[in-house]
Symmetry: C2
Subunit: 160 residues, 2 copies
């Protein structure tokens, strides 16, 4: 991997970090009461989106081949089911803690990856398929999850 | 520029194209009447976001050093001023046309850029500053504008 390649990898990681940072700041600025509200009438609550983002980011650990999920129980409530599923949710305090812990765990793992390792396959693609689809790598997961985060951030600002 | 670098450039452009595609599909699915509504109470209307995205994407032409803006008049209404500025807006029909034309103009320019040219500086940074900040390149504009688009897309879905 040459310098230019390492530069592009850094740009993508910097973009992820910037979006994590501004969304974290937004969650800190929102009270528990504000998070209970829907971002638009009939849409997801802030609490659901907080749990959803924690769950999706938690699932990045195994998807990127960087470890097991820390809170596998979040998937059922915040990924497989919608906000008004009737399933019991953790408290807002717990969800805030999960969100922070998961992002810190990711940051710790990312710091240990060499630039070239970002072009290795993610775990949802087989070795066989990866030969013909080299874009199905860790870096592509970062592009996709950064857009996902940006999308939900811009919904959460409506709670302010 | 080697193959791996060209692959990452392609991944970033594919991500942009995917977001343009799904947002275009959404605008086509929304009626003029739906676009007149606010995405959340007191927030931007669909019409404003349509004009805003057309204006921001139009400004990418000079920012990327790929030509002049096609509709410079959009900046005042849709970038410098908020939705309820009282400034006269083009019709929804006109805005739909601007949105499509601008994205087609970008696509046409992008098709002519070699992978290595994406790492060249954008026009908002000086040659001098670029020496120390090589991340201020065209590709970084694409990362930033893709997240911007993803953010507004997720607000526009509330109009459905």
């Amino acid at each position: 991997m040459n310098d230019q390649q390492a530069l592009i990898v850094k740009m993508i990681l910097d973009s992820w970090n910037a979006h994590i940072g501004r969304t974290h700041k937004l969650f800190e600025a929102l009270s528990d009461e504000q998070l209970q509200k829907e971002v638009s009438p009939g849409r997801n609550t802030g609490v659901y989106l907080l749990g959803h983002l924690a769950a999706v980011h938690d699932a990045m650990l195994p998807l990127l081949g960087l470890g097991e999920r820390l809170y596998p129980q979040l998937e059922e409530v915040f990924i497989k089911n919608p906000d008004k599923s009737g399933l019991q949710k953790p408290t807002v305090k717990e969800l805030r803690s999960y969100w922070s812990t998961v992002n810190e765990a990711l940051a710790k793992q990312f710091a240990q990856l060499a630039p070239a390792e970002w072009l290795q396959k993610h775990t949802a693609v087989s070795e066989e398929a990866f030969k013909n689809e080299p874009h199905r790598n860790r870096l592509n997961v970062m592009l996709s999850r950064t857009s996902h985060l940006a999308g939900h951030h811009n919904q959460l600002i409506f709670l302010q």
